[in-house]
C-alpha cells in the first residue's frame, strides 16, 4: 500500500520537509496558556487572603470556610504547576541555541519564573503571584519578538 502511495506523491517533499523539521509535537506555541494559569494563581491568592473567617462557634461556617480554603489552595497549587509546565515547554521545546544571541539571559529568565511558581505554591503571597504574572509577560514579549510578531498582552481577569 505505502509503495503505491509513494509513487503517487513523490513530490510531497515540502510537506515532508516541514514534518521532518517539526520543532515540537504540533508547532503551536503560545504563552497565553501560561498567562491564564498565572492569572488564576494570582486570583486564588487574592481570594484566599480575602476569605472572611467564620463567626465564632458557627460550625457550618467553619466547615464552609475550610472547604473553600482547601479548594482554593488545591487549585492554586494546580494552576501554579500548570504555569510552570507551560513555561518549561517553551524553554525546552520552542527556544533553540540560536535564541541565546538575542536573549542571553534566557535560562535565568525561565529558571526564575519556574522558581516563582514553586514559591506561589508554598506561600499565599500576592506580591510573588504578581511577580509571576510579570515574569510571564516578559516571556510573552521575548517569545513574540523571536517570532517577529506583535501580539498585544492582555489579561482576562
Amino acid at each position: 500500500m505505502f509503495d503505491r502511495i509513494l509513487d503517487q506523491i513523490e513530490h510531497l517533499s515540502p510537506a515532508s520537509e516541514a514534518s521532518a523539521h517539526c520543532d515540537g509535537p504540533c508547532g503551536v506555541y503560545d504563552p497565553a496558556s501560561a498567562r491564564i494559569a498565572a492569572e488564576a494563581v494570582l486570583s486564588l491568592t487574592k481570594k484566599i487572603l480575602a476569605l472572611a473567617p467564620p463567626a465564632p462557634g458557627d460550625q457550618a461556617a467553619g466547615i464552609a470556610f475550610l472547604n473553600t480554603l482547601t479548594r482554593y489552595v488545591a487549585i492554586k497549587e494546580q494552576q501554579a504547576e500548570q504555569t510552570k509546565h507551560d513555561l518549561l515547554v517553551l524553554w525546552t521545546d520552542y527556544f533553540k541555541p540560536d535564541h541565546l544571541k538575542d536573549t542571553p539571559n534566557l535560562h535565568e529568565m525561565f529558571w526564575n519564573a519556574a522558581k516563582l511558581c514553586s514559591q506561589c505554591k508554598q506561600t499565599v503571597n500576592e506580591q510573588k503571584a504578581t511577580e509571576l504574572l510579570k515574569a510571564v509577560q516578559e516571556i510573552h514579549e521575548v517569545f513574540w519578538k523571536s517570532k517577529k510578531r506583535e501580539v498585544p498582552w492582555y489579561t482576562a481577569a
Copy 2:
C-alpha cells in the same frame, strides 16, 4: 484564633461578598486556552495528512513513519479532548441562565462544538478541524461580548 481574627476584620464583608459570589474556581475564564488546543488539532491534522509515506522496503523509514503518525494521532486526540474540556468549562461554569437572553442558541453552540471535537478525534479531516477552530472563534466572540470587552481574535500558528 479565628475568633480574634474575626474581631479584627469584621468589616471584611465586601471581600467575603466577592468570595460568596465567586462564579467558579478562580473567576479567570478565557477561550484562548480552547483556541490554542483547537489550533493544535488543526495543525496535527494537516501534519498527518502531509506525512510522506516511507520508501518501499525501508524498514527504518517505516518505523519512523509509524512513530510519527502514532504520536500525532495521540496528540490530536489529547488536544481535541482539551478543547472539549475547556469549552465545556465555559458552558457549565461561566454561562448563566441570564446569558440565554442574548444567546438563545447557547446550548446548541456548545453541543455542536463539542461534537466537532469528537469528530476531529475520529477522523483526520482538515475541514472538520477548521470548523472546530471557527466554532471556538464564535464562542470567543459571544464570551467577550457577554463581558462587554473587546478582545481581538488571533491565532498563534
Copy 3:
C-alpha cells in the same frame, strides 16, 4: 500486506460499516459510572458534616481532623469532577439531535446537572448532593429509555 488482506476479506463491509458508524470511542455507555461518583460526593458531604471537631488543645486530634477534612474535600472535588465528566460524555457523545424529540429539555437537564456538580464542590451541602444524585437518576432513566431497555436504578451505598 494490507493489499493481500483486503483481497482475503473484501466482504467485510458489515464490519467496516459498524466501524464507520461508531458513535463514540467504544460504544459502551452507562450512567452507572456517574452514579457511583455522585454517590461518593453525597457520602463525603455527609462524612464532612459528621466530622467531630477535635477536643480543645489536643494537637494530635487537631492535625487528624484537618488531615481527614482536607482529604474528604479533595476527594469530593475529584468525584464531583468525575460525575460532571461522565455526564458530559453522555451529552456530547451519546445523545444525538434525534433524541431531542423524546427529550426536548435534554440540554437544560445536563446543564443543571453539571452546575450541581460545581455547587457540590463549592459547598458542603447535603441537599445539593442529594439533588445531584436525583439528577443522575433522571438521566439514567432518560438514557435507558432511549435505548429501549429497562435497567433498574440502584445505589451502592
Copy 4:
C-alpha cells in the same frame, strides 16, 4: 472556634465513630465501574479485529485506518488500566482479612484478573477480553455476597 463547636455537639460520637471506622476514602464501592471499563476493552478488541483494511493505494483510507487503529489501541490500553485500577481498589481497600474465610482464593482471584488486564493490553484477543469480563463478574458476585446484597449483573453493551 472548634472549642465552642465541640461544646455544642459533644454527643456526635456515633457520627465520629462512623468516620473513625471509615474503610476507604468514601465507603462507596461498586464493581460496576470495573465492569464498564472491561466492557470497553472487549468492545474495542472486537472493533479492532473487525477493522477493514484500506483499499490498495488509497492514501486517505490508509491514514483513516491507522488513525482509528491507533485510537482504539490507546483507548483499549486506558480502559484495561482502568479495569485493573478499579479491581485493585476493591482488593486493597474493601476486602479485609476476615473476607478470606468466605473467599480463601481472594488473592489469586484478583491477581489473575489483574494479569488478564495486562494481557488485554498486550494482545488484541477477544477470548482474553471475554475472560476478563467473566473475571469481573465473578468479583461482582463475591463482592455483593460479602455485603449480603443481591445486585443483578448486567452489561451495558
Copy 5:
C-alpha cells in the same frame, strides 16, 4: 513494504522472541520508584507533625499554616497513591506464579504494603509511614533476590 522488510530480516527470530515474551510494557522494573514515594510519605508525615501552629490572632500566619498543611496532606496522599501503584505494578506484572515457590507469602506481603499506603493517607502517623518504608525495603530484597542481583538499599532523605 512489510513484505520486503520481512525478506530482509527473516532471521530476526531472537529479537521477535524477546518481544513475544516481553513480561511488561518495557521490562524495566525497579522498586526504587516506590521507595522514593514512600520516603516522601514519611517526610511529609514528619513535616505535618512538626508544623508549628500560628500565633493567636495572627491571620497571615493562620492562612500560611493552613496553606502548608493542605499542601502537605495533598502531597502525602499523592505520594502514598504513587507508592501503592508502583508496588502493585510489581505484584501484577513482574511477579509470576513461579515466584510463589521462593516467596509463598507474596500476596500477603503486597496486600499489607498496599493497606499501609491507605493507612498513611488516612492518618498522620509516623509509625505507619515508617512501617511502609520497611515494607518497601522487604519487597526490594525479595525483588532483587528473584533477579539474582545484589542491589544495595539506600534512602535519599
Copy 6:
C-alpha cells in the same frame, strides 16, 4: 484550639524553621526516578527497532504488530515525558543559585537533557536514547556530589 497548642509547643522553632526553609514539596529528591524512566525509553526504543514485521497477508499478525508498536510508541512517549519532568523538578526546585559555582554549566546540562527527551519521543533512535541515559547519569553525579554523598549508579535493566 491553636492557641492552646501554641502554649504547649512554643519551643518548636527548630521544626518550624525546617518547615520554613523547606526547599520543595517534601525534600526528597533522587535522580533514580528519572533514571528508571530513561531506562524505559531506551528499552522501548530497542524493542521497537527489534519488532519483527508480520508475515505477508497475515492479518492477525499485522494487527498484533500494530497493537504492539502503538503501545511501545505511546509508552516511550510517556516515559520520555516522565524523564523530562523528573529532571526539571531537580533543576527548578532542588538546584539553587549557589550550585552554579560548582556547576557553571547547570542550565545547559538540563536544557540539553530535556531536549534529548523530546528527541527520543520524536524518533526511534537508540543512540539518542543512550545519550539520554548518559545525561541522566551525569546529573546523578552532579546531584549526589552537591549533597556530598556517594550513591553508586546502577541500572535496573
